[in-house]
Protein backbone atom coordinates (compact mmCIF):
# COMPACT_ATOMS: atom_id res chain seq x y z
CA UNK A 1 0.00 0.00 0.00
CA UNK A 2 1.31 3.43 -0.85
CA UNK A 3 2.07 6.19 1.63
CA UNK A 4 -0.83 8.50 2.60
CA UNK A 5 -0.68 11.99 1.06
CA UNK A 6 -2.38 13.53 4.05
CA UNK A 7 -3.00 12.10 7.46
CA UNK A 8 -4.26 13.50 10.74
CA UNK A 9 -3.48 11.95 14.10
CA UNK A 10 -5.82 12.51 17.06
CA UNK A 11 -6.63 16.04 15.96
CA UNK A 12 -8.65 18.04 18.50
CA UNK A 13 -9.91 21.61 18.68
CA UNK A 14 -12.22 23.29 21.19
CA UNK A 15 -13.96 26.64 21.10
CA UNK A 16 -14.58 27.45 24.74
CA UNK A 17 -16.40 24.39 26.06
CA UNK A 18 -17.41 23.07 22.64
CA UNK A 19 -15.26 20.34 21.18
CA UNK A 20 -15.51 21.21 17.50
CA UNK A 21 -13.04 18.55 16.43
CA UNK A 22 -12.63 15.60 18.73
CA UNK A 23 -9.76 13.14 18.33
CA UNK A 24 -10.01 12.87 14.55
CA UNK A 25 -7.62 10.55 12.71
CA UNK A 26 -7.84 9.70 9.03
CA UNK A 27 -5.64 9.09 6.01
CA UNK A 28 -6.09 10.23 2.42
CA UNK A 29 -4.25 8.31 -0.32
CA UNK A 30 -2.78 9.98 -3.40
CA UNK A 31 -5.35 10.27 -6.21
CA UNK A 32 -8.38 9.91 -3.98
CA UNK A 33 -11.47 12.07 -3.94
CA UNK A 34 -12.21 12.06 -0.25
CA UNK A 35 -15.45 13.58 1.02
CA UNK A 36 -16.24 14.74 4.52
CA UNK A 37 -19.95 14.74 5.37
CA UNK A 38 -21.97 15.37 8.47
CA UNK A 39 -24.89 17.35 9.85
CA UNK A 40 -24.58 21.11 10.40
CA UNK A 41 -22.23 21.92 13.27
CA UNK A 42 -20.55 18.53 13.07
CA UNK A 43 -17.12 20.15 12.78
CA UNK A 44 -16.49 19.63 9.06
CA UNK A 45 -15.43 23.17 8.34
CA UNK A 46 -13.39 23.37 11.55
CA UNK A 47 -11.55 20.26 10.45
CA UNK A 48 -11.01 21.84 7.06
CA UNK A 49 -9.69 25.03 8.58
CA UNK A 50 -7.29 22.98 10.68
CA UNK A 51 -5.88 21.22 7.64
CA UNK A 52 -5.51 24.50 5.74
CA UNK A 53 -3.85 26.01 8.83
CA UNK A 54 -6.42 28.74 9.44
CA UNK A 55 -6.88 27.35 12.96
CA UNK A 56 -4.28 25.89 15.29
CA UNK A 57 -5.15 22.49 16.74
CA UNK A 58 -5.22 22.07 20.52
CA UNK A 59 -3.61 18.69 20.11
CA UNK A 60 -2.74 16.16 17.42
CA UNK A 61 -0.70 16.30 14.22
CA UNK A 62 -1.29 16.79 10.53
CA UNK A 63 1.19 15.19 8.15
CA UNK A 64 1.24 16.10 4.47
CA UNK A 65 3.53 14.41 1.96
CA UNK A 66 5.79 13.14 4.74
CA UNK A 67 6.06 16.53 6.43
CA UNK A 68 4.39 17.65 9.63
CA UNK A 69 2.36 20.75 8.78
CA UNK A 70 0.45 21.35 12.01
CA UNK A 71 2.69 24.25 13.00
CA UNK A 72 3.50 26.01 9.75
CA UNK A 73 1.73 29.31 8.93
CA UNK A 74 -1.21 29.38 6.49
CA UNK A 75 0.66 31.29 3.80
CA UNK A 76 3.23 28.50 3.44
CA UNK A 77 0.88 25.65 2.56
CA UNK A 78 0.51 26.83 -1.04
CA UNK A 79 4.19 26.27 -1.77
CA UNK A 80 3.99 22.81 -0.19
CA UNK A 81 1.25 21.96 -2.68
CA UNK A 82 -2.06 22.52 -0.90
CA UNK A 83 -4.72 24.79 -2.37
CA UNK A 84 -8.18 25.48 -1.01
CA UNK A 85 -11.47 27.10 -1.91
CA UNK A 86 -14.04 28.65 0.40
CA UNK A 87 -17.73 28.00 0.88
CA UNK A 88 -18.63 31.59 -0.04
CA UNK A 89 -15.64 32.24 -2.33
CA UNK A 90 -12.72 34.46 -1.42
CA UNK A 91 -11.60 36.21 -4.60
CA UNK A 92 -9.93 39.49 -5.48
CA UNK A 93 -13.21 41.18 -6.35
CA UNK A 94 -11.87 44.19 -8.24
CA UNK A 95 -9.60 42.18 -10.55
CA UNK A 96 -10.23 40.19 -13.68
CA UNK A 97 -10.52 36.43 -13.81
CA UNK A 98 -7.13 36.31 -15.51
CA UNK A 99 -5.39 38.32 -12.80
CA UNK A 100 -7.04 36.29 -10.07
CA UNK A 101 -5.64 33.17 -11.67
CA UNK A 102 -2.20 34.61 -12.35
CA UNK A 103 -1.72 35.37 -8.69
CA UNK A 104 -2.15 31.66 -8.08
CA UNK A 105 1.29 31.37 -9.67
CA UNK A 106 2.72 33.74 -7.05
CA UNK A 107 4.37 31.02 -4.99
CA UNK A 108 6.18 29.73 -8.05
CA UNK A 109 7.73 33.07 -8.94
CA UNK A 110 11.52 33.01 -8.90
CA UNK A 111 12.37 36.55 -9.97
CA UNK A 112 13.57 39.37 -7.72
CA UNK A 113 12.50 42.97 -7.24
CA UNK A 114 15.12 44.53 -9.49
CA UNK A 115 14.72 42.22 -12.44
CA UNK A 116 10.96 42.79 -12.14
CA UNK A 117 11.33 46.58 -12.14
CA UNK A 118 13.57 46.37 -15.21
CA UNK A 119 11.42 43.64 -16.80
CA UNK A 120 14.47 41.53 -17.71
CA UNK A 121 14.09 38.63 -20.19
CA UNK A 122 13.97 36.13 -17.31
CA UNK A 123 10.87 37.92 -16.00
CA UNK A 124 9.24 37.91 -19.43
CA UNK A 125 9.92 34.17 -19.84
CA UNK A 126 8.41 33.47 -16.45
CA UNK A 127 5.33 35.53 -17.29
CA UNK A 128 4.84 33.52 -20.46
CA UNK A 129 5.19 30.23 -18.64
CA UNK A 130 2.69 31.38 -16.00
CA UNK A 131 0.26 32.46 -18.66
CA UNK A 132 0.50 29.02 -20.25
CA UNK A 133 -0.44 27.30 -17.00
CA UNK A 134 -3.35 29.71 -16.56
CA UNK A 135 -4.59 29.14 -20.12
CA UNK A 136 -4.51 25.37 -19.60
CA UNK A 137 -6.68 25.72 -16.52
CA UNK A 138 -9.03 28.08 -18.37
CA UNK A 139 -9.45 25.41 -21.04
CA UNK A 140 -9.99 22.66 -18.48
CA UNK A 141 -12.75 24.57 -16.69
CA UNK A 142 -14.24 26.31 -19.75
CA UNK A 143 -13.67 29.83 -18.49
CA UNK A 144 -12.59 31.30 -21.87
CA UNK A 145 -15.45 33.76 -22.16
CA UNK A 146 -14.87 35.21 -18.68
CA UNK A 147 -11.10 35.72 -18.98
CA UNK A 148 -11.09 39.54 -18.88
CA UNK A 149 -14.19 40.12 -16.78
CA UNK A 150 -13.99 41.58 -13.32
CA UNK A 151 -15.05 39.18 -10.55
CA UNK A 152 -17.62 41.58 -9.08
CA UNK A 153 -19.68 41.38 -12.27
CA UNK A 154 -19.82 37.58 -12.51
CA UNK A 155 -22.64 35.27 -11.42
CA UNK A 156 -22.06 33.21 -8.29
CA UNK A 157 -21.60 29.90 -10.05
CA UNK A 158 -18.84 31.31 -12.24
CA UNK A 159 -17.08 32.85 -9.25
CA UNK A 160 -16.99 29.47 -7.61
CA UNK A 161 -15.35 28.08 -10.74
CA UNK A 162 -12.83 30.92 -10.80
CA UNK A 163 -11.84 30.11 -7.25
CA UNK A 164 -11.26 26.50 -8.22
CA UNK A 165 -9.30 27.73 -11.25
CA UNK A 166 -7.08 29.90 -9.09
CA UNK A 167 -6.47 26.96 -6.76
CA UNK A 168 -5.48 24.80 -9.75
CA UNK A 169 -3.03 27.47 -10.93
CA UNK A 170 -1.03 26.71 -7.80
CA UNK A 171 -0.68 23.21 -9.34
CA UNK A 172 -1.43 21.62 -5.99
CA UNK A 173 -0.95 18.00 -5.00
CA UNK A 174 -3.93 18.38 -2.69
CA UNK A 175 -7.04 20.42 -3.42
CA UNK A 176 -9.35 21.27 -0.54
CA UNK A 177 -12.91 22.12 -1.63
CA UNK A 178 -15.23 23.65 0.95
CA UNK A 179 -18.80 22.87 -0.15
CA UNK A 180 -18.23 23.17 -3.90
CA UNK A 181 -21.97 22.86 -4.60
CA UNK A 182 -23.33 25.34 -2.04
CA UNK A 183 -25.37 28.07 -3.71
CA UNK A 184 -25.41 26.26 -7.06
CA UNK A 185 -28.47 25.04 -8.93
CA UNK A 186 -28.91 21.30 -9.68
CA UNK A 187 -27.45 21.68 -13.17
CA UNK A 188 -24.35 23.44 -11.92
CA UNK A 189 -24.02 20.83 -9.17
CA UNK A 190 -24.07 18.16 -11.86
CA UNK A 191 -21.14 19.96 -13.50
CA UNK A 192 -19.22 19.95 -10.24
CA UNK A 193 -18.93 16.18 -10.28
CA UNK A 194 -17.60 16.35 -13.85
CA UNK A 195 -14.87 18.85 -13.18
CA UNK A 196 -13.88 17.10 -9.97
CA UNK A 197 -13.34 14.04 -12.11
CA UNK A 198 -11.28 16.10 -14.59
CA UNK A 199 -9.21 17.65 -11.84
CA UNK A 200 -8.56 14.30 -10.27
CA UNK A 201 -7.74 12.50 -13.53
CA UNK A 202 -6.15 15.17 -15.78
CA UNK A 203 -4.36 17.03 -13.03
CA UNK A 204 -3.60 14.10 -10.80
CA UNK A 205 -4.60 16.20 -7.81
CA UNK A 206 -5.92 14.55 -4.69
CA UNK A 207 -9.18 16.11 -3.57
CA UNK A 208 -10.66 16.48 -0.10
CA UNK A 209 -14.08 18.08 -0.01
CA UNK A 210 -16.67 19.04 2.52
CA UNK A 211 -20.08 18.58 0.92
CA UNK A 212 -23.76 18.46 1.81
CA UNK A 213 -25.20 17.20 -1.45
CA UNK A 214 -25.25 13.43 -1.00
CA UNK A 215 -25.80 12.62 -4.66
CA UNK A 216 -22.72 14.64 -5.57
CA UNK A 217 -20.74 12.90 -2.84
CA UNK A 218 -21.90 9.51 -4.05
CA UNK A 219 -21.02 10.29 -7.68
CA UNK A 220 -17.69 12.00 -7.17
CA UNK A 221 -15.94 10.48 -4.22
CA UNK A 222 -13.87 7.36 -3.81
CA UNK A 223 -14.22 7.37 -0.04
CA UNK A 224 -16.37 9.22 2.46
CA UNK A 225 -15.83 10.14 6.09
CA UNK A 226 -18.91 10.92 8.18
CA UNK A 227 -18.45 13.11 11.23
CA UNK A 228 -20.87 14.09 13.99
CA UNK A 229 -20.27 16.20 17.08
CA UNK A 230 -16.66 16.67 16.02
CA UNK A 231 -15.85 12.97 15.98
CA UNK A 232 -15.47 10.40 13.18
CA UNK A 233 -18.54 8.18 12.84
CA UNK A 234 -17.45 6.05 9.91
CA UNK A 235 -15.09 5.99 6.91
CA UNK A 236 -15.78 3.92 3.82
CA UNK A 237 -17.12 3.70 0.28
CA UNK A 238 -19.98 6.14 -0.48
CA UNK A 239 -22.79 3.56 -0.57
CA UNK A 240 -21.59 1.90 2.65
CA UNK A 241 -21.58 5.24 4.43
CA UNK A 242 -25.07 6.14 3.16
CA UNK A 243 -26.44 2.92 4.60
CA UNK A 244 -24.38 2.98 7.78
CA UNK A 245 -26.74 2.86 10.81
CA UNK A 246 -24.60 5.22 12.91
CA UNK A 247 -24.50 7.78 10.09
CA UNK A 248 -28.28 7.60 9.70
CA UNK A 249 -28.70 8.13 13.40
CA UNK A 250 -26.38 11.17 13.31
CA UNK A 251 -28.46 12.76 10.56
CA UNK A 252 -31.95 11.77 11.58
CA UNK A 253 -31.63 11.51 15.36
CA UNK A 254 -32.51 8.46 17.41
Amino acid sequence: MSEALLSTHSLSLSFGGVRAVDDVSFEVMPGEVFSIIGPNGAGKTSLFNLISRLYDADSGDIVFDGQKISDIPAHRIAELGIARTFQNTELFEHETVLRNMLIGRHVHSRTNLFSELLFLPSVARQELAFRQVVEDVIDLLDLQSYRDQVIGSLPYGVRKMVEVARALCIQPKLLLLDEPSSGLNPEETEDVSHWIEDVSQDYGATVIMVEHDMSLVARASSRVMAVADGAVVAIGAPQDIQNHPEVRRAYLGD
Binding site: I77, L91, F92, E93, H94, I170
Partner: protein, 289 residues
Protein backbone atom coordinates in the same frame (compact mmCIF):
# COMPACT_ATOMS: atom_id res chain seq x y z
CA UNK B 1 2.82 86.09 -14.14
CA UNK B 2 1.65 86.27 -10.59
CA UNK B 3 -0.80 83.50 -11.34
CA UNK B 4 1.94 81.23 -12.64
CA UNK B 5 4.10 82.00 -9.65
CA UNK B 6 1.26 81.12 -7.30
CA UNK B 7 0.55 77.99 -9.25
CA UNK B 8 4.09 76.78 -8.78
CA UNK B 9 4.18 77.38 -5.05
CA UNK B 10 0.74 75.77 -4.88
CA UNK B 11 2.03 72.70 -6.69
CA UNK B 12 5.02 72.38 -4.41
CA UNK B 13 2.87 72.74 -1.28
CA UNK B 14 0.35 70.34 -2.82
CA UNK B 15 3.08 67.76 -3.36
CA UNK B 16 3.83 67.83 0.37
CA UNK B 17 0.16 67.24 1.17
CA UNK B 18 0.10 64.55 -1.48
CA UNK B 19 3.10 62.71 -0.01
CA UNK B 20 1.51 62.62 3.43
CA UNK B 21 -1.86 61.71 1.92
CA UNK B 22 -0.25 58.75 0.12
CA UNK B 23 0.99 57.55 3.50
CA UNK B 24 -2.59 57.60 4.79
CA UNK B 25 -3.86 55.78 1.73
CA UNK B 26 -1.18 53.07 1.72
CA UNK B 27 -1.96 52.02 5.27
CA UNK B 28 -5.70 52.39 4.85
CA UNK B 29 -5.81 50.29 1.71
CA UNK B 30 -3.73 47.49 3.12
CA UNK B 31 -4.97 47.29 6.68
CA UNK B 32 -8.21 49.35 6.77
CA UNK B 33 -6.67 51.36 9.59
CA UNK B 34 -6.39 55.14 9.48
CA UNK B 35 -3.05 56.31 10.82
CA UNK B 36 -3.70 59.76 12.22
CA UNK B 37 -0.06 60.05 13.20
CA UNK B 38 1.06 60.21 9.56
CA UNK B 39 1.75 63.97 9.79
CA UNK B 40 3.72 63.43 12.97
CA UNK B 41 5.71 60.71 11.26
CA UNK B 42 6.70 63.38 8.75
CA UNK B 43 7.72 65.64 11.65
CA UNK B 44 9.83 62.83 13.06
CA UNK B 45 11.38 62.40 9.62
CA UNK B 46 12.39 66.05 9.56
CA UNK B 47 13.96 65.74 13.02
CA UNK B 48 15.77 62.56 12.05
CA UNK B 49 17.14 64.36 9.00
CA UNK B 50 18.27 67.17 11.32
CA UNK B 51 19.93 64.57 13.57
CA UNK B 52 21.77 62.71 10.81
CA UNK B 53 22.78 65.76 8.79
CA UNK B 54 23.29 68.57 11.31
CA UNK B 55 24.27 66.67 14.44
CA UNK B 56 25.95 63.55 13.07
CA UNK B 57 27.43 65.56 10.21
CA UNK B 58 26.46 63.22 7.36
CA UNK B 59 26.55 64.52 3.79
CA UNK B 60 23.03 65.46 2.61
CA UNK B 61 22.32 62.45 0.37
CA UNK B 62 23.61 59.94 2.91
CA UNK B 63 21.64 61.72 5.62
CA UNK B 64 18.46 61.42 3.55
CA UNK B 65 19.02 57.70 3.07
CA UNK B 66 19.67 57.28 6.79
CA UNK B 67 16.47 59.20 7.54
CA UNK B 68 14.38 57.02 5.24
CA UNK B 69 15.83 53.81 6.64
CA UNK B 70 15.54 54.83 10.28
CA UNK B 71 11.97 56.08 9.95
CA UNK B 72 10.99 52.91 8.06
CA UNK B 73 12.30 50.92 11.03
CA UNK B 74 10.25 53.11 13.37
CA UNK B 75 7.21 52.39 11.15
CA UNK B 76 7.72 48.63 11.42
CA UNK B 77 8.14 48.87 15.19
CA UNK B 78 4.92 50.89 15.52
CA UNK B 79 3.05 48.26 13.52
CA UNK B 80 4.50 45.32 15.45
CA UNK B 81 4.20 46.78 18.95
CA UNK B 82 1.14 49.03 18.83
CA UNK B 83 -1.10 47.90 16.00
CA UNK B 84 -0.68 44.20 15.48
CA UNK B 85 -2.23 43.42 18.88
CA UNK B 86 -5.20 45.53 17.74
CA UNK B 87 -6.13 43.28 14.82
CA UNK B 88 -9.83 42.47 15.15
CA UNK B 89 -10.51 45.37 17.55
CA UNK B 90 -13.05 48.04 16.57
CA UNK B 91 -11.71 50.64 14.09
CA UNK B 92 -12.43 53.39 16.60
CA UNK B 93 -9.99 51.87 19.11
CA UNK B 94 -7.29 51.71 16.44
CA UNK B 95 -8.00 55.32 15.51
CA UNK B 96 -7.56 56.41 19.13
CA UNK B 97 -4.25 54.58 19.28
CA UNK B 98 -2.88 56.42 16.27
CA UNK B 99 -4.13 59.77 17.63
CA UNK B 100 -2.39 58.94 20.90
CA UNK B 101 0.70 57.97 18.96
CA UNK B 102 0.70 61.44 17.38
CA UNK B 103 0.66 63.05 20.86
CA UNK B 104 3.50 60.79 21.94
CA UNK B 105 5.62 61.60 18.91
CA UNK B 106 5.17 65.35 19.40
CA UNK B 107 6.06 65.08 23.09
CA UNK B 108 9.00 62.86 22.24
CA UNK B 109 10.32 65.32 19.68
CA UNK B 110 9.92 68.21 22.13
CA UNK B 111 11.75 66.28 24.84
CA UNK B 112 14.62 65.12 22.66
CA UNK B 113 15.22 68.04 20.30
CA UNK B 114 13.69 70.89 22.30
CA UNK B 115 10.77 73.08 21.29
CA UNK B 116 12.66 75.85 19.50
CA UNK B 117 12.67 75.54 15.76
CA UNK B 118 15.48 73.86 13.88
CA UNK B 119 16.71 74.12 10.31
CA UNK B 120 18.08 71.19 8.32
CA UNK B 121 21.16 72.04 6.23
CA UNK B 122 20.44 71.31 2.61
CA UNK B 123 21.87 72.08 -0.81
CA UNK B 124 18.69 73.81 -2.03
CA UNK B 125 18.11 76.85 0.19
CA UNK B 126 18.89 80.24 -1.28
CA UNK B 127 19.20 79.08 -4.89
CA UNK B 128 16.62 80.24 -7.37
CA UNK B 129 15.87 79.42 -10.99
CA UNK B 130 14.55 82.33 -13.04
CA UNK B 131 12.28 81.69 -16.00
CA UNK B 132 11.34 85.10 -17.36
CA UNK B 133 9.49 86.82 -14.56
CA UNK B 134 8.95 83.71 -12.50
CA UNK B 135 11.42 82.56 -9.93
CA UNK B 136 11.38 79.08 -8.52
CA UNK B 137 13.32 78.22 -5.41
CA UNK B 138 15.49 75.10 -5.57
CA UNK B 139 13.71 73.80 -2.50
CA UNK B 140 10.38 73.97 -4.33
CA UNK B 141 11.90 72.30 -7.37
CA UNK B 142 13.24 69.56 -5.09
CA UNK B 143 9.79 68.95 -3.65
CA UNK B 144 8.15 68.72 -7.07
CA UNK B 145 10.87 66.56 -8.61
CA UNK B 146 11.10 64.35 -5.54
CA UNK B 147 7.37 63.76 -5.61
CA UNK B 148 7.36 62.97 -9.33
CA UNK B 149 10.19 60.45 -8.94
CA UNK B 150 8.54 58.85 -5.93
CA UNK B 151 5.21 58.52 -7.75
CA UNK B 152 6.92 56.88 -10.72
CA UNK B 153 8.71 54.45 -8.42
CA UNK B 154 5.51 53.60 -6.58
CA UNK B 155 3.65 53.10 -9.83
CA UNK B 156 6.31 50.71 -11.14
CA UNK B 157 6.44 48.93 -7.82
CA UNK B 158 2.72 48.20 -7.70
CA UNK B 159 2.43 47.49 -11.39
CA UNK B 160 5.39 45.26 -12.04
CA UNK B 161 6.84 43.70 -8.93
CA UNK B 162 5.74 40.54 -7.23
CA UNK B 163 5.90 42.28 -3.85
CA UNK B 164 3.76 45.15 -5.07
CA UNK B 165 1.17 42.77 -6.45
CA UNK B 166 1.26 40.76 -3.22
CA UNK B 167 0.53 44.00 -1.34
CA UNK B 168 -2.49 44.71 -3.51
CA UNK B 169 -3.69 41.15 -3.04
CA UNK B 170 -3.33 41.33 0.74
CA UNK B 171 -5.27 44.57 0.79
CA UNK B 172 -8.11 43.19 -1.31
CA UNK B 173 -8.68 39.87 0.39
CA UNK B 174 -6.62 38.57 3.28
CA UNK B 175 -7.90 35.01 3.24
CA UNK B 176 -7.40 34.62 -0.48
CA UNK B 177 -3.94 36.14 -0.13
CA UNK B 178 -2.93 33.57 2.50
CA UNK B 179 -3.93 30.70 0.24
CA UNK B 180 -1.98 31.87 -2.75
CA UNK B 181 1.05 31.98 -0.46
CA UNK B 182 1.29 35.62 0.60
CA UNK B 183 2.56 36.24 4.15
CA UNK B 184 -0.08 38.83 4.98
CA UNK B 185 1.33 39.91 8.36
CA UNK B 186 4.80 40.51 6.94
CA UNK B 187 3.17 42.52 4.17
CA UNK B 188 1.46 44.71 6.77
CA UNK B 189 4.82 45.47 8.39
CA UNK B 190 6.19 46.35 4.96
CA UNK B 191 3.28 48.66 4.26
CA UNK B 192 4.02 50.53 7.48
CA UNK B 193 7.68 50.70 6.51
CA UNK B 194 6.77 52.12 3.10
CA UNK B 195 4.36 54.62 4.53
CA UNK B 196 7.01 55.72 7.06
CA UNK B 197 9.57 56.00 4.25
CA UNK B 198 7.13 58.26 2.38
CA UNK B 199 6.77 60.38 5.52
CA UNK B 200 10.56 60.56 5.77
CA UNK B 201 10.86 61.85 2.21
CA UNK B 202 8.09 64.37 2.89
CA UNK B 203 9.91 65.48 6.05
CA UNK B 204 13.22 65.93 4.25
CA UNK B 205 11.61 67.84 1.39
CA UNK B 206 9.46 70.07 3.57
CA UNK B 207 12.24 70.94 6.06
CA UNK B 208 13.86 73.62 3.85
CA UNK B 209 10.59 75.53 3.32
CA UNK B 210 9.07 75.07 6.73
CA UNK B 211 10.37 75.30 10.27
CA UNK B 212 11.24 72.03 11.90
CA UNK B 213 9.25 72.00 15.12
CA UNK B 214 7.17 69.43 17.03
CA UNK B 215 3.85 70.78 15.76
CA UNK B 216 4.80 70.82 12.07
CA UNK B 217 2.95 67.52 11.69
CA UNK B 218 -0.37 69.30 12.02
CA UNK B 219 -0.40 69.80 8.26
CA UNK B 220 -1.27 66.11 8.32
CA UNK B 221 -4.86 67.20 8.95
CA UNK B 222 -4.90 69.08 5.65
CA UNK B 223 -3.28 66.10 3.97
CA UNK B 224 -6.05 63.96 5.41
CA UNK B 225 -8.59 66.26 3.77
CA UNK B 226 -6.60 65.92 0.53
CA UNK B 227 -6.71 62.13 0.80
CA UNK B 228 -10.49 62.19 1.17
CA UNK B 229 -10.87 64.57 -1.78
CA UNK B 230 -8.81 62.10 -3.80
CA UNK B 231 -10.96 59.12 -2.83
CA UNK B 232 -9.00 57.76 0.16
CA UNK B 233 -8.28 54.46 -1.50
CA UNK B 234 -6.31 55.70 -4.43
CA UNK B 235 -2.64 56.70 -4.54
CA UNK B 236 -2.99 58.91 -7.65
CA UNK B 237 -6.09 60.37 -5.97
CA UNK B 238 -3.99 61.29 -2.94
CA UNK B 239 -1.56 63.27 -5.08
CA UNK B 240 -4.31 64.96 -7.08
CA UNK B 241 -6.19 65.77 -3.88
CA UNK B 242 -2.99 67.20 -2.41
CA UNK B 243 -2.41 69.36 -5.48
CA UNK B 244 -5.98 70.67 -5.46
CA UNK B 245 -5.73 71.64 -1.80
CA UNK B 246 -2.22 73.11 -2.20
CA UNK B 247 -3.06 75.22 -5.25
CA UNK B 248 -6.44 76.41 -3.92
CA UNK B 249 -4.76 77.45 -0.70
CA UNK B 250 -2.28 79.70 -2.50
CA UNK B 251 -4.97 81.43 -4.52
CA UNK B 252 -7.24 81.83 -1.50
CA UNK B 253 -4.31 83.46 0.26
CA UNK B 254 -4.05 86.08 -2.44
CA UNK B 255 -7.64 86.74 -3.46
CA UNK B 256 -9.56 86.17 -0.24
CA UNK B 257 -9.34 88.09 3.04
CA UNK B 258 -6.55 87.02 5.42
CA UNK B 259 -7.26 83.82 7.33
CA UNK B 260 -9.16 82.13 4.54
CA UNK B 261 -6.11 80.34 3.19
CA UNK B 262 -5.96 78.06 6.22
CA UNK B 263 -9.57 77.00 5.90
CA UNK B 264 -9.38 76.25 2.17
CA UNK B 265 -8.56 72.57 2.67
CA UNK B 266 -11.65 72.04 4.80
CA UNK B 267 -13.87 74.11 2.52
CA UNK B 268 -12.81 71.90 -0.39
CA UNK B 269 -13.40 68.84 1.73
CA UNK B 270 -16.93 70.00 2.57
CA UNK B 271 -17.76 70.77 -1.03
CA UNK B 272 -16.39 67.40 -2.07
CA UNK B 273 -18.44 65.55 0.53
CA UNK B 274 -21.56 67.32 -0.72
CA UNK B 275 -20.97 66.74 -4.40
CA UNK B 276 -19.11 63.45 -4.60
CA UNK B 277 -18.69 61.80 -1.21
CA UNK B 278 -16.73 58.88 -2.64
CA UNK B 279 -13.94 61.23 -3.76
CA UNK B 280 -12.46 61.91 -7.18
CA UNK B 281 -10.99 58.48 -7.72
CA UNK B 282 -13.56 56.30 -6.08
CA UNK B 283 -12.13 52.93 -5.20
CA UNK B 284 -14.17 52.29 -2.11
CA UNK B 285 -17.21 50.28 -2.92
CA UNK B 286 -20.29 50.11 -0.85
CA UNK B 287 -20.15 46.87 1.07
CA UNK B 288 -22.61 44.39 -0.27
CA UNK B 289 -24.49 42.30 2.21
Amino acid sequence: MEVLQLLISGISQGCVYGLIAMGFVLIYKATEMVNFAQGDMMMLGAYLAYTWINIAGMPFVLGVVATIVSLAIVGVLIERILLRPMIGEPPFAVLMITIGLGFMLRAFAGAVWGTETKAVSNPFSGNVIRLGDISIGYENMAIILGTVILCALLFAFFRFTRLGIAMQAASQNQLAAYYVGIPVKRIYSLVWAMSAALAAVAGVLVAPISLVEPVMGFIGVKAFAAAIVGGFGSLPGAIIGGLIVGIAEQFAGLYLPPGFADTTAYAILLIMLFLRPEGLFATMQKKKV
